[in-house]
């Protein structure tokens, strides 16, 4: 197949987000309060979920399978009835001003939900129609979006002829056709290869740079660390951590690092840095804990001063990964 599975380069995107005037004003883009959802079968999917997003934010909603991510998104987009709680999108309450609220939102769902017999361009242009945008306006806009998402040469194909990655990008184009201020993506990169995933990341970065507020769910911690400004971790229907990526990491009161010595002097070294709760790993390797007040530098300096050479200091584990495991341990549904 000729067309590369990569998404628009930055230069092709220029001007694409010109519609975004309001940004970074501190205006709340999304205010979610005490969302509860009990499904008909009795499953309590959400048990009082609250979080905020300022305009221009990029929030990653992380959580294991069945945590309630898709349920939250369903409520935001009007596809799931909430049991209780409130949601406001750019100040518009989803109950009282649902039309205004919906105009602000574009959504890329977890599951494919377009008609596979329709042509790519029609899917995008018809979506504009449902927002009251005439074809004459929607058509050039759709062409531009498809171009940005490297789908332009496929625009007249029936959508079933697209590859899996192309179908995801088609749903992104469809979600953006009415120029929403808040883009919601439910696991957009699930089952997408590494190259395409990086292409999608670039595209999302361009969008946020243009002022679009983005809420994305993901299972990939790397993705959250790469893209998001804020992270909320949800488990079993409850937000168990919420803040900046840095802030979440600081919830790890200490981090374990592995210190590799030049010589096999781990026991002597342990005596020097006993304040760092050392653990011997190998004759020349030990783990030490760096708590919020200490620094690695102090430990290394102390060792060097005692004549013990330090060859290498390595982080013991994926950082966010570790927070995630600690917070959700035993939590997977």
């Amino acid at each position: 197949m000729a067309s590369p599975e990569t998404i628009a380069k930055a230069d092709r995107f220029s001007g694409g987000a010109a519609w975004q005037e309001t940004r970074g004003s501190g205006e709340p883009a999304l205010v979610v309060r005490e969302l509860r959802k009990v499904y008909d079968g009795g499953t309590e999917a959400l048990k009082g979920v609250s979080f905020d997003m300022p305009a221009g934010d990029f929030l990653a909603l992380l959580g294991p399978n069945g945590a309630g991510k898709t349920t939250v998104i369903g409520i935001l987009t009007g596809l799931v009835h909430k049991t209780s709680g409130t949601v406001a999108v750019f100040g518009e309450d989803i109950d009282r001003n649902h039309q205004a609220a919906r105009r602000h939102i574009g959504v890329v769902p977890q599951e494919l939900n377009f008609n596979i017999f329709e042509r790519v361009i029609d899917i995008v242009v018809n979506q504009a129609g449902y927002y009251g945008i005439p074809r004459s306006t929607a058509l050039p806009r759709a062409e531009r979006l498809l171009e940005q998402l490297s789908l332009h040469d496929k625009r007249n194909e029936r959508s079933r002829n697209l590859s899996g990655g192309m179908k995801r990008r088609l749903m992104i184009a469809r979600a953006l056709i009415h120029q929403p201020r808040l883009l919601i993506l439910d696991e957009p990169t699930a089952g997408v290869d590494v190259e395409l995933r990086r292409g999608m990341w670039d595209f999302l970065r361009q969008l946020t740079a243009g002022g679009t507020t983005i809420l994305m769910t993901t299972h990939y911690l790397e993705e959250a660390e790469q893209l998001a400004r804020h992270v909320a971790i949800i488990n079993r229907g409850t937000i168990i951590a919420d803040g900046t990526v840095k802030g979440i990491l600081s919830r790890l009161h200490s981090e374990v690092v592995t210190v590799e010595l030049v010589e096999e002097k781990a026991e002597a070294a342990a005596a020097v840095v006993h304040a760092f709760r050392p653990k011997l790993v190998e004759p020349g390797v030990l783990d030490i804990e760096i708590d919020s007040k200490a620094t690695v530098g102090t430990a290394v300096a102390a060792l060097e001063a005692a004549g013990i050479g330090v060859k290498m200091v390595r982080s013991k584990s994926g950082r966010l990964e570790e927070v995630f495991m600690r917070l959700t341990s035993g939590g997977a549904a």
């Binding site: 596809l79 009835h81 105009r103 769902p109 377009f114 018809n126 979506q127 129609g129 009251g132």
Partner: protein, 258 residues
Amino acid sequence: MTPFEAWISFYTIVRKDVVRIVRIWPQTFLPAVVTSVLYFLIFGTVLGSRIGEFQGVAFLSFVVPGLVMMAVVTNAFSNVAFVMFSSKFFARNIDEILVSPTPPFVIVAGFVAGGVTRGVLVGLLVFLTSIPFAGLSIHSLPVVLLFLVLTSLALSLGGLINGIHAQSIDGINIIPTFVLTPLVYLGGVFYSIEILPGFWQGVTHANPIFFVVDGFRYGFLGISDTPILVSTGVLLAGCALLSLIAWYEIRSGLRLKQ
């Protein structure tokens, strides 16, 4: 939404359906025409002369309005039932509309307009097909058109409600087969109810399709079993009631939202 935006959304829903209806014409238009030709051959050429006249009209001419209505009823109903059901069940592309600001009455109107288009076009085709067999006679064009449109409307609304409730593909086949077809056959398509015993005449008046066929026949032949104002009233009331139910169900997200 402004009225203009609502119109664009309505137009988008209808356009999509009409393009589909025309694209798959061998499935949407052809069957009704083929079936009607068979009916016209059998009732006109083969049986007609033996059956004689009904209310002073050749049997075939008596049957044509009923056969046109039969095609209108099944096509309008199944069109909307299928479109609603498949868009919520197979691809879930109904979500495309449900996440948009399109108000519920526009969604109802859009889905139903597709069914009305199909019902009216199929009705016209079957009528045109009948002309070589039964000749052309129209007593009142306005009544014919009124009944053509209102019947398509009522059955499209019924199909929409069926499509909303159906939980499987059987769900949209059961009603046409076990409810609609019997009502059509027993609704006086092939006979005047004056030939029925009094009790069964009464029962027939509980069949809404009877009023549809009877009023439509009046438009063609100027004869009817029941006053035209009554059948018009029944049809209008049916449309109003079904519109309300359809609107309420779309608005509440019944079977469409969790």
